[in-house]
Symmetry: C2
Subunit: 473 residues, 2 copies
């Protein structure tokens, strides 16, 4: 495979590639509301068809469909399972410098030069279409790919992937033909340092609710607040429950919630030590827009360990009563809290939910779990050939790689590691940021310092080549 | 004064009177947003002009104007200060059986027969226009009124009357000519029992806020919730502060918050005992849509005392993060709580706010008071001639009166009792309910059991006559 020729081809064709990415970003795909989901699934399948994939179809689930397709030309070659998501986070009450669904190029974005500023540009429609662009260039030059590919692109990742497990179960036989799973992503930070993460936390996303009822409180409507003197308040019940769930110092107070935790492995410890040496805490604080980290730990290995190997209980939203302009003195008939819990080895979602239910039943029986979604954490070893292929890709582009033994965020990688029994990894060159936030962006075409979408596409070529050369388990 | 002839006149003219009330209800006057406020103030002044009032004008304040006017024909007569509010509560996410601003008559409303169902029909545009209708009938029959009247109708009561004190201060000399202040209101319950309240609690309405900043937390935008592992949360800071402000049993934990409380007076005790004998706890529960009262007290005098003579700390609203459809896993950069505190003798707003500030400074320094409004409680004795005049009015219509030594709600009556040194009272015949709630209603024309707006108008005639006969202090 003439890698150099393919990379030159990407340079030649990049403006056309960029337009394909912009077109794709312009199709809304907000799984929270369903807006544009069907259209985006179809658009994704169309590109797979254009690339010559076979068995391309929208695999139905109880929710939104998974876009499926195959490019299996030679069973003796290695096979990569391409996983990604075509859905994006909602945009609500967010201030953007451009329309978040225009796929707009901003010529001078902050101090980063030419950037695409758009919902989905890093998470994850930009990387999907960039990967497709790279495949097109390989095929144009070589007529074939160095490895086989199986595509599984879901539309509910931002909802916690509630129906992707269904798909994996149904398609297990097809998917198991792969030697490893890969999620495309722009893994460079603002100054061109590459990060590689060897796992993801599990997640429980849940809605708690308290309503008036037989126990007291207004049953069906908000009432005048002066009656609080003899009418109980669902809002206060919720507040006291939340305060009981977590101490002011951040400790989760649900009994036994930390019971199943195991310490980081020897490999994790080693990687944490190395990571502490190279990582830039200031850069993290800047990118997160914070003055200081939580808690009292100094910026060092222990803080890193807290970040990557701790369970968190976060409040995503609170909703009760009247919060509009002016004054409305009411005693609300219900109150809701939206929470997410991040899980680490060896916490299992169902066991943790069981502990939460027990806690509520015993201490706050009026608090209902209105709904929840959950999936477990996942881990992969840096020694996996799949991971080594990605590492060598970065090295081929002269990039320093910072290996993170885990990631604080969640993705349903457990489906690959546990259910399908294969390693997984995610990454690629290029820089973007502000997932789930206003002004989500990615650099268009990088320079010597930091890569952009163009460099991401190039890294895919090398990665597929390196992957095809690896001996798999 | 030929009271009987005037009452007959009200019967004759009532359909015309009803239309005037409906027209008035149709003009929105939502002080929370400002919608229709100016138009309503002008419409109110117009009716005063039509009635022949003098010095009618919109008295400017730093907020919305107070509608002022006088009907002083004979300085030797008694003078009543008519106080009310032309603003109403917002209607938001409320389900109504009719458009809340249509001034609609529902022929069979629940089990109450013909009712006006409209925002403001009891609180308090219905009583205002009913009072004006009564004045018109008196003048049509008698050519004159039995007493003098001064009108002061504010447009910010639902915001906590932030600028009415300005007006009272500026107009003190004019207002002090009155012998007592009166707020028109439909005081009958569903079965025609009249209630009379001898006071109102004070109120502090405040917004608490926590934002990310130098202490930690995201400073300017919501960030991905997975970072909670090392980024602190403004929402949790607020939750812990709230939980610290009040124990699960309802006890306010702000130090010294109960310090200035005094026990009910001998008159209060006597009235509480009498009230316990006549009042219907079931009816209260039905009207509030609750299964049971708060706390462990049985339905009796102590529970009544808790209702009327206790300080409350209520959460009117909570606002943080994303609460829309689907899932948005974020760590919010700010959180707000909207609270109201009801004050009773001898708690003074500024002292209580001082205690709250001290508590926050010491225990929750990150929690800011974004804004607050406050005014004190007020009390009047049943022995006041003004109150006796209203009592005799009810008796004249054969009504049983239940005297409540205090009221759990708030109104700026302290301006009359403290600042102007005069007694105050509120009431009138007629039944309505659901102030601040969906399907606020009032009976149109009552029967032998329960009075409506028609009976309210009649009671005004008698009340003004009885008042004119009273010897004042």
């Amino acid at each position: 495979m003439d890698v150099a020729k393919i990379l030159a081809r990407i340079d030649d064709q990049f403006e056309t590639h960029l337009i394909k990415i912009q077109d794709y970003l312009q199709i809304k795909s907000i799984s929270a509301t369903g807006e544009g989901i069907e259209e985006t699934a179809k658009a994704t399948a169309n590109v797979l068809n254009e690339l010559g994939a076979t068995d391309v179809h929208l695999a139905e689930t109880s929710g939104y469909p998974v876009v499926y397709g195959e490019m299996i030309t030679d069973p003796s070659k290695k096979t990569l399972l391409f996983y990604s998501m075509y859905d994006v986070q909602p945009v609500e009450a967010e201030k953007w410098v451009v329309d978040p669904f225009a796929g707009a190029v901003v010529e001078e974005f902050e101090d980063l030069g030419r950037c695409l500023v758009s919902r989905g540009v890093i998470n994850t429609k930009g990387p999907i279409m960039g990967f497709f662009n790279a495949l097109k260039s390989i095929i144009e030059v070589e007529g074939d790919l160095p490895c086989n590919l199986i595509f599984a692109i879901e539309g509910e990742e931002e909802l916690g992937s509630p129906h992707f497990p269904e798909f994996v179960e149904e398609y297990a036989k097809k998917l198991k033909r792969a030697d490893g799973a890969y999620l495309p992503f722009f893994a460079e930070n603002k100054v061109g340092k590459v990060k590689m993460w060897l796992g993801a936390k599990g997640i429980i996303y849940l809605k708690l609710r308290v309503r008036g009822g037989d126990w007291g409180g207004p049953r069906t409507r908000h009432i005048h607040s002066s009656y609080h003197s003899w009418v109980d308040s669902p809002v206060w019940k919720l507040v006291h429950c939340l305060a009981d769930m977590k101490a002011p110092d951040g400790t989760i107070k649900i009994p036994d919630f930390y019971r199943d935790l195991i310490p980081p492995s020897a490999e994790d410890e080693e990687l944490l030590t190395k990571l502490t040496e190279t990582m830039d805490f200031e850069e993290i604080k800047n990118s997160l827009d914070i003055s200081r980290f939580r808690g009292e730990l100094p910026e060092g290995k222990d803080l890193l360990q807290q970040h990557l190997f701790s369970t968190t209980l976060n409040i995503d939203g609170l909703d009760a009563g009247y919060t509009g302009p002016g004054t409305k003195t009411i005693l609300p008939c219900e109150a809701r809290a939206y929470l997410d819990i991040r899980l680490i080895p060896n916490q299992e979602p169902e066991r943790q939910i069981g502990l939460l239910k027990e806690f509520l039943k015993k201490n706050h029986p009026l608090v209902e779990i209105e709904s929840y979604d959950a999936y477990p954490w996942a881990k992969v070893s840096v020694r996996e050939p799949l991971c080594q292929a990605l590492l060598r890709t970065y090295q081929a582009f002269g990039k320093k790689v910072e290996i993170w033994p885990h990631h604080s965020g969640s993705a349903p990688f457990y489906l690959f590691s546990r259910n399908l029994g294969m390693p997984f990894i995610w990454g690629g060159l290029g820089h973007g940021n502000r997932m789930h936030s206003p002004n989500e962006y990615a650099v268009v075409a990088g320079d010597n310092k930091v890569g952009g979408i163009r460099e991401f596409e190039k890294s895919i070529v090398t990665f597929l080549y390196e992957f095809s050369q690896e001996k798999m388990h």
